[in-house]
Symmetry: C2
């Protein structure tokens, strides 16, 4: 009567890996992309320079473990070891390690991704400022660049959608695969960590690879035309990866992630005239060209004049955000569209952009950029920052290591 | 200086259609699937018999228009005409009809799907029981089969996630395309209708086509193994399409849609032993075979015995739901996985199944099935129905007609 398959047979379907590698994420052939994998191990964590996958599942966790500092620290390290093993397995298209086919035990893997390809799954961890309080003996390891974000203009932050001791970004071209990663890490962390908030992204909203087509955000504009490309090593080293400038050696090769849930006033935006929308952004809506140019990738000319004023208005988003107008400062964006239903009081869609960016030092990059944008950007009439996160993403791991190992040595 | 493209050039990208037709939804080549279209016009609405696409965007609307009965009715008809034209365009891969490239006007289309393929987009409308009150002069047109659902066991319904005068199911293999449809209908309905609730599904959780692989729900089990197949015309005519039995001729060729937001107690489920999970469902988790058999599509043998009892337990889900044990009654399921973040009080994922089913008469199909399942199913320990909708989906439209036209004639 028993039809229970052997464990080997059981997971054979989930373990079939494509060898196409990360670059296949950009291939037009979606079937190839589904079977592609991104290497988990390396000098940097995957999911930062990796060309943005189609879908996001993101979660922030609070550590709830109690006991002495040593006990808490040991529990945190144990969880990071378990998470690292699980992440390495899942990104390779394998189930969570452990026994999943014993009748008298809960399966080690929850099963919803059995038979699905990894579809370029990457899992990226970050440590929040609160991890460096006195609970884990890590106060002396807090990087100066992980300074709490100051109060910024244009924000009205919901504490239930902000902060967290840890965060995990899971990206894949298959949303079930991304969700499966977050869910199983939550499960493996039980007793040590509890999920504080989570966010699904249903479509990537910014390209960060030279050969990716620029996607559109929910305002209908192309997003990421001038983004840093992950394959541009010099720019990554200058603006994204922590290097010799950091006061905390354990962060070398890592990066600082800022997340912002940016709610869009979609109804007001949709009633706005096309010309006004274009003036707010500083680009033509359909071609994506700057208002000073003709093609999407034309370099914006902030000195060009149009009818009675600058071609790109003084308060246009791309003018205020441009590195030319911010002392050269750049960030790597990796944003996703989101919607979480209807705001019951208004009947408006609760939708917008889950903005993720990576950088070498938020104090010198995200904070001054957002201070300027939040106070002057014409876009502010249509958006509000309602959630915020700041996380130090440690460097990549070698086989046998665990995430952030140098932090504890 | 102007780089504004002509309207023709502008939408050329969005207007490129694949000719592959509905059947391409099942093709393993995802690139082909992305460019595929499902015909909008026909005897039945698309999105019912259509093999389930990967993603769902669903919205329920309340009509808010005021005035005399005639004025309200005229406004409703005008909106349905506008919606039908827009739906026909969007499913063909075209933008919402109208002017999108005039500077001094809001674009007719919101733009986020420009350049994306329709990816088998279907848009399906339904009318809720409340549409047939005295506001629109439709009280005499209410089908008997659209009787309000009775209070059912195992439910604790949130009114903010239930009901609605109208509902729209948009399904596509691209979530941005599905969302774009819902958002633009909401926009076109402004002044007449307001969104009451909405739901994104991030992965299909039931197959309804003979050549579709059976997907898994968030419990990790295959879902839809014994579902009705849309291409099985005899079964569709017997159990899904309204026919000569209906008291309301305008519904002939239509179907009744029941939606249930089914929250899963994921943490409790994940702690359950594999054997218990399998006994709850009545199937092996990985192969999908019934506990009485060896392969997924083996017909369950409800008389088979195992160790000390029936092979498929008395309270197993598949036993209670099987047509053999319900006087032959069947329904067409079209369910999607959902998650909406974290329940703040518990840190548990707010996740589960957005269950959609279609049938000829809910009084004889969904209601008795759910009454039985809700009171006896072993699964009830792990699920709760928290949202509910009931909608009469009119038959398909011919070119020039509008959705539900026969209802108003």
């Amino acid at each position: 009567m028993s039809a229970g398959p052997s464990r080997r047979a059981l997971f054979a379907g989930a373990g079939v890996l494509g060898a196409a590698g990360a670059v296949a994420a950009c291939a037009p052939d979606k079937a190839a992309a589904r079977s592609a994998t991104v290497p988990f191990h390396g000098a940097h964590q995957a999911g930062i320079a990796t060309p943005a996958q189609d879908r996001l599942a993101f979660a922030a966790y609070d550590l709830t473990v109690t006991g002495s500092t040593e006990e808490r620290r040991a529990a945190l390290i144990a969880m990071l070891r378990t998470w690292t093993r699980a992440a390495a397995a899942m990104t390779a298209g394998n189930p969570v390690p452990g026994e999943s086919n014993l009748g008298a035990a809960p399966p080690a893997d929850t099963g919803e991704a059995v038979g699905l390809k990894p579809a370029n799954l990457t899992i990226t961890i970050g440590f929040g400022p609160s991890l460096f309080d006195d609970r884990f003996g890590l106060a002396g390891k807090r990087p100066a660049a992980l300074a709490d974000l100051p109060k910024l203009p244009g924000e009205d932050l919901d504490p239930d959608r902000s902060g967290g001791d840890l965060a995990v970004q899971a990206c894949s071209d298959d949303p079930v695969v991304a969700f499966h990663a977050i869910r199983n890490l939550a499960r493996l962390g039980r007793g040590t960590a509890v999920m504080r908030w989570s966010q699904l992204g249903f479509g990537k909203a910014s390209s960060n690879g030279a050969d990716q087509q620029t996607p559109r955000n929910l305002m209908g504009f192309k997003d990421g035309t001038r983004n840093i490309h992950g394959e541009d090593t010099a720019t990554m080293n200058r603006w994204v990866w922590a290097g010799s400038e950091t006061d905390q050696p354990w962060m070398r090769g890592g990066s600082y992630m800022v997340t912002r849930r940016i709610a869009m006033r979609i109804e007001a935006w949709d009633r706005d005239f096309l010309k006004d929308q274009q003036d707010v952004i500083g680009r033509y809506k359909y071609s994506g060209a700057p208002l000073s140019g003709h093609k999407e990738f034309d370099t914006p000319d902030f000195h060009a004049t149009g009818m009675g004023g600058p071609a790109i208005p003084a308060d246009a988003h791309i003018r205020l955000a441009a590195h030319e107008n911010n002392g050269g400062v750049r960030i790597l964006r990796r944003a996703y569209n989101y919607t979480d239903g209807v705001v019951p009081s208004s009947g408006e869609l609760d939708a917008g952009l889950f903005f993720i960016c990576f950088q070498q030092d938020p104090r010198k990059q995200f904070v001054p950029l957002q201070r300027r944008l939040g106070s002057m950007d014409a876009l502010n009439e249509y958006i509000e920052h309602v959630g915020s996160g700041l996380f130090a993403c440690p460097p990549g791991v070698r086989p046998g290591q665990y995430w952030g190992q140098a932090l504890f040595s």
